[in-house]
C-alpha cells in the first residue's frame, strides 16, 4: 500500500510539472532569459507549490509520525558552506543552458527525444562522478549522503 501511494505522489508530481510548464524547456528558458522578452509564468509555479506545501505542511507535522515511517526526517542542516553555493551556481548554469532541472529531466524521457535521454544520462553521470570524487577524500566528511539531502 505504501509503495502504491508513493507511486501516486510521483504521478501527481509529474502532472504538476507538466501542467505548470516546467517540462517544457523553452518555457523555462523563456522565464530565465530576459534578453528580449519575458515569460513570468514560472514564478507563479513556485508561488503555487510553496503556497500549497507551505499551508499543508504544518498540518501534516501535527501528526506524531508519518503514515509509513517511524519519524519525520526533514533535513536539519543549517550550514551555508561555500561548497553548497558553488554547487547551486553550477546547477544554475546548467539550468540556464537547457531549461531542464532534475524533475523535468526524469519526466521528460517519456517524450522519448534524444535531448531528454541525453540530459538524464549526463545528469546521472554528473551525480555519480561527484559522488566518486568526494568519496574517501577529505571532502567526504562534509558531503551529506543522500538520505539527508534536501533533494
Amino acid at each position: 500500500m505504501s509503495g502504491f501511494l508513493v507511486f501516486v505522489a510521483g504521478v501527481l508530481f509529474a502532472l504538476g510539472l507538466g501542467i505548470s510548464g516546467m517540462t517544457n524547456p523553452n518555457k523555462v528558458i523563456g522565464f530565465l532569459d530576459v534578453s528580449h522578452t519575458w515569460d513570468p509564468s514560472l514564478a507563479l509555479v513556485m508561488v503555487g507549490a510553496i503556497g500549497a506545501h507551505g499551508l499543508l505542511r504544518p498540518l501534516v507535522l501535527k501528526r506524531p509520525k508519518p503514515i509509513f515511517a517511524s519519524a519525520f526526517q526533514e533535513p536539519k542542516n543549517c550550514d551555508i558552506p561555500g561548497k553548497m553555493l558553488i554547487g547551486a551556481g553550477l546547477f544554475g548554469i546548467g539550468w540556464g543552458i537547457s531549461g531542464i532541472c532534475p524533475g523535468p529531466g526524469i519526466v521528460g524521457v517519456a517524450s522519448g527525444t534524444t535531448q531528454a535521454w541525453t540530459f538524464l544520462l549526463t545528469m546521472t553521470v554528473g551525480m555519480a562522478a561527484y559522488g566518486a570524487i568526494t568519496r574517501g577524500s577529505d571532502l567526504s566528511a562534509a558531503t551529506v549522503p543522500s538520505p539527508k539531502q534536501n533533494g
Binding site: 528558458i29 528580449h36 542542516n77 554547487g87 532534475p102 534536501n150
Partner: protein, 147 residues
C-alpha cells in the same frame, strides 16, 4: 532598449501545476516523512542505491505521469530551441554535479526548503535562480540564444 515585453504568460496553469507539485510534496511528507527533492531521490536511487523501494516507486510514478502527459498533454514537452545536443549534455553534467554539491534542486530547496523557511535553502535558491537568469540571459544576448 524598450520595456521588456511579457509573452506567453500562463498564470492559471502555472499556479495550478505548482499547487499540484506542492500537494505531491506534501503527500511524500505525510507518507514517508521525507522531502520530495528530486535530485536526492534520483541520485539515491541510481547512484547510491539507498532506499530503492520508495525511491523506485516515486520515480516509477514520475515516469507514469510522463506517459499520461504524453497522451493527454503532449504540448507540455519540448526540445530546447537554439541549444545543441552538446550543450544539453553539458548542462546535464552541470545539473548533476551542482545538485549533489548543493544537496538539492528546485524541488528540494525551492519547494520544500522555502516552505520550511530554511535560510540554507534560501541561499541555494537565490544562487541558482540568479545564476540561472544570468546564464540564460547571457546566452540570449551574446549568442542570440544559441549554444
Amino acid at each position: 532598449m524598450g520595456p521588456l515585453m511579457i509573452v506567453d504568460f500562463t498564470p492559471f496553469s502555472a499556479l495550478a501545476g505548482g499547487a499540484l507539485i506542492g500537494l505531491a510534496a506534501t503527500l511524500v511528507l505525510l507518507l514517508l516523512g521525507r522531502t520530495a527533492g528530486i535530485s536526492g531521490i534520483w541520485s539515491g536511487l541510481v547512484v547510491d542505491r539507498q532506499d530503492v523501494d520508495w525511491r523506485g516507486a516515486f520515480v516509477f510514478g514520475l515516469l507514469t505521469g510522463g506517459g499520461l502527459l504524453l497522451i493527454g498533454l503532449p504540448s507540455s514537452f519540448g526540445v530546447p530551441e537554439g541549444r545543441s545536443l552538446g550543450a544539453i549534455a553539458l548542462s546535464g553534467l552541470l545539473v548533476g554535479v551542482g545538485t549533489r554539491m548543493a544537496s538539492g534542486c528546485t524541488s528540494g530547496h525551492g519547494v520544500c526548503g522555502l516552505s520550511r523557511l530554511s535560510g540554507r535553502s534560501l541561499a541555494a535558491v537565490l544562487t541558482f535562480m540568479i545564476v540561472g537568469f544570468g546564464a540564460a540571459t547571457g546566452l540570449g544576448y551574446a549568442a542570440g540564444g544559441v549554444l
